[in-house]
């Protein structure tokens, strides 16, 4: 059995740190010491310290999750037991707000929760006044962010074929510290047909859980173009059990695409009003929807130019 491994990206120790163990791949980046003016030595020292904290925390992450895996794959209800591990509790609390209305297991938030925990582990080792301008943990597209005063983060959203779908800009004044994307692409199964749903929320775990819920809501129940199969026949031991997951999507006319997106956008708007998310971008077949607070200062450009 192989243990966790670490590597620097970008060809040097001042690059990003890549941590991998089993199915977990993290890319961790740090820029800017806080005092504004560039202080390369200080930034290097800060990075080395933060990365040391990260790899120390990462050592047991997968084992902790595996230890409670059966519980984490069970649907959560209001009376579900709360798991013990720090990451597992983040997962549980992130999905709990959806439990009353939706089928959801803590695994819906696993990627975001790992990112949040890793970010917290690094920040816990840094005094508030020595924290960097930006520190982020990207867990396969689900991102936990730290932003110092005046710092910002831009997230570009691309379709699997590389087509640019738009971008969100997050500044330090925004409540957003977590970003997650869900949809038919990628590693997880989806109950909906969205190409991608990107959600910005207070934490990566909350964004992760909400992205799944919104992506599942981009749907056309009973539509013949949507192929579905029981989750377990697609992925062994899937936490979705025998729920029908989308395995193929045929041709859809523009009005039908709009109908599916509207259903998802309605669901996203409900979550936004409940304060569970800050904003979301939904994409399907060249059309997009934005759900955001009124007078939002940073809107992505709706995707209209690309048709698959």
């Amino acid at each position: 059995m192989t243990g966790p491994v670490a590597a620097y990206l970008d060809g040097h120790a001042d690059g990003r740190l890549h941590l991998q163990h089993g199915p977990i791949d993290l890319v961790i980046g740090l820029d800017g010491s806080r005092d504004g003016a560039p202080a390369p030595e200080r930034e290097t020292a800060l990075r080395a310290h933060a990365f040391a904290m990260a790899r120390r925390r990462f050592q047991s992450v997968l084992d902790e999750l595996v230890g409670e895996l059966p519980l984490l794959k069970m649907p959560v209800t209001a009376t579900s037991p709360v798991p013990e591990g720090a990451i597992a509790r983040r997962m549980h609390h992130a999905v709990l707000p959806f439990a009353a209305e939706h089928f959801i297991t803590p695994m819906a938030a696993v990627a975001g929760a790992v990112a949040d925990e890793m970010l917290a582990a690094m920040l816990s080792g840094l005094a508030p006044d020595e924290r960097p301008a930006r520190l982020y943990v990207n867990n396969g597209g689900d991102i936990a962010l730290h932003l110092g005063p005046g710092a910002g983060y831009r997230i570009a959203i691309a379709r699997e074929d590389g087509a640019d779908l738009g971008a969100f800009a997050i500044d330090a004044g925004s409540p957003v510290r977590g970003i997650a994307t869900s949809g038919r692409g990628g590693r997880s199964l989806s109950l909906g047909i969205a190409d991608a749903v990107t959600v910005l929320a207070a934490t990566a775990a909350e964004a992760d859980a909400a992205a799944s819920i919104v992506a599942n809501g981009v749907d056309l129940p009973g539509h013949p173009a949507v192929e579905r199969r029981p989750a377990r026949s697609v992925v062994d031991g899937s936490d979705l059990g025998d729920l029908p997951v989308v395995t193929g999507l045929g041709r859809l006319d523009d009005d039908t695409v709009a109908e599916a997106l509207d259903a998802g956008a309605d669901r996203a708007e409900t979550l936004r009003r409940r304060g569970l998310i800050d904003r979301a971008a939904l994409f399907l077949r060249g059309q997009g929807r934005i759900v955001a607070p009124a007078a939002s200062p940073a809107l992505p450009k709706p995707e209209t130019g690309h048709h698959a």
Partner: protein, 497 residues
């Protein structure tokens, strides 16, 4: 693709023990990580791109995660200092290769933008040339070589001091029975992955062969390869022996040499000694068939070398004549002095120079080894993964604008049409080879060239990724194995020569 050992299986699902998740994976599925898959009941690592790090300190392998180290001791930078070269080991394949190869990687070498196209080729036309350092008879030329009773190749023309096998090839892989193809494929893969393979030769020996290890022939491990035949050894050592002994005999299964009769001895003015050799005289001082082949002196069946001698001719021989008998590998030797009856008497104490000389014979015998060269041809479809116009790749390789390597090891490209390459498997990363059920061998192959040359041959420019991205995906980081030039070095190319 790399096969992993499977420890347990339940209801047709295999258990992956690569990480603590311990997924049960059904046939045709991959685990939670998408890195390991079950292909026909075997656990296959599907993405372990292997990167060779060009550093002095890289001890190979992925740097393990080292918790608890003091921060200033953290030196886990596996990508930091080195110049990486991405090999095709574990790169995956796009068979039938109508789309770009899995990794087209760009990097700079001495300021020149280089592109390396890496893919795991599926070779149904491929085999192994096996060189077995031994003089022992392993079987007649063209005799079938069998593994588990199935023919997998044949004995081919021997080389100096070595026996040669030609194994695999399309006729055994796909031209015979299904079992023949399967066994041939597996034997080739194991041999190329430097595992030990047992085989038999029709009308010959039982062989146990492993690349880089001494051959085991009929259960006996060969240790040394002779310095030359008996005659050649006389030629090499005549000048030393002239001043130490009056007569020298080098006992060899093939040609036994006699110092005083040999051309070399004559030139040095060594007088006749009246020695008589039991064997068929070829030319002066050279005797065939002094004994039957065996595991005794010099590959013969004798244990007492005097058995090959007749009585000394009293007209030339004299009491006190000093005689050295040595096997071609120097492993056996005897120093004799003729008594009053002209009978050789074995001496228990040898003059120091004689002992030293015997030591030099032995020292000049290299360790006997099995070497395995993989040979395969890059077909049109594999080449299509590199370029939109496959023949241009062939021309670029022939024009020395494109360097071909297999798992980072330099490949010899045969002259003539197509891209037929030969590579020493011991220079490649371990477990470089796999197979598909066709049956055919999966082997890594990389084509490296200048960016402009890649564009010129119709390369898939849109698919090029920076080397850092491929390195980030790599599961295996190893130190260089071969001392040959780095695959991107200018001297590999016409423009850099």
């Amino acid at each position: 693709m790399v096969k992993q050992p499977v420890e347990s299986a339940v209801n047709g699902k295999i258990r992956c023990d690569a990480c603590p998740v311990m997924c049960y994976i059904a046939d045709g599925r991959s685990g939670a990580c998408d890195r390991y898959a079950n292909i026909a009941g075997e656990l296959i690592r599907v993405d372990p791109l292997t990167v060779i790090e060009n550093t002095a300190t890289a001890g190979g392998k992925v740097v393990p995660f080292m918790p608890g180290q003091a921060d200033n001791e953290w030196d886990g930078d596996i990508v930091h200092a080195g110049t990486p070269f991405v090999t095709a080991v574990g790169a995956g394949t796009t068979y039938p290769d109508y789309k770009p190869a899995p990794f087209i990687v760009s990097q700079t070498h001495d300021g020149i933008d280089m592109v390396t196209v890496v893919t795991e080729g599926i070779f149904s036309y491929c085999g192994a040339k096996v060189k077995i350092d031994t003089d022992r008879f392993i079987g007649p030329e063209a005799a079938a070589v069998r593994v588990e009773g199935e023919p997998v190749g044949h004995v081919t023309t021997g080389e100096y001091g070595s026996q040669m096998l030609s194994l695999g090839g399309v006729h055994h892989l796909t031209g015979g029975s299904k079992k023949e193809g399967r066994i041939t494929c597996e034997a080739l893969m194991r041999l190329c992955n430097r595992e030990r393979v047992e085989m038999t030769v029709d009308g010959g020996a039982a062989l146990s062969l492993q690349a880089g290890r001494p051959p085991v022939i009929d259960g006996v491990e060969e240790s040394r390869m002779r310095v030359g035949c008996g005659s050649a050894t006389i030629g090499m050592f005549a000048r030393q022996w002239r001043d130490m002994v009056d007569e020298g005999v080098v006992v060899d299964d093939h040609i036994t040499g006699v110092l005083s009769e040999h051309q070399a001895g004559k030139l040095l003015g060594i007088p006749p000694t009246g020695i008589r050799i039991r064997g068929r005289r070829s030319t002066p001082g050279r005797y065939f068939q002094v004994a039957a082949p065996g595991t005794g002196w010099g590959g013969t069946d004798i244990s007492d070398p005097l058995a090959i001698l007749g009585d000394f001719d009293p007209k030339a021989a004299y009491p006190g004549l000093r005689l050295l008998m040595v096997s071609t590998t120097g492993e056996q030797y005897g120093y004799y002095i003729l008594d009053e009856d002209l009978k050789p008497q074995l001496q228990t104490t040898l003059p120091a120079p004689v002992l030293e000389s015997v030591g030099i014979v032995a020292e000049n015998c290299e360790p006997a080894m099995v070497s395995v060269l993989f040979i395969g041809g890059a077909g049109g479809s594999l080449r299509a993964g590199v370029t939109t116009n496959p023949v241009r790749l062939t021309r670029s390789v022939k024009a020395a604008l494109t360097h071909v390597s297999c798992g980072g090891a330099p490949a010899y490209v045969w002259p003539g049409g197509g891209i037929t390459v030969m590579v020493d498997v011991t220079q490649m990363p371990t477990n470089s080879f796999g197979y598909v059920p066709t049956p055919a061998i999966v082997a890594p192959i990389e084509f490296t060239m200048r960016l402009e040359d890649y564009r010129a041959l119709g390369g898939h420019m849109e698919a090029i990724v920076p080397v850092e991205r491929a390195v980030a995906l790599a599961e295996r980081h190893i130190a260089p194995i071969t001392a040959s030039p780095w695959p991107t070095a200018g001297r590999n190319f016409k423009w850099g020569a």
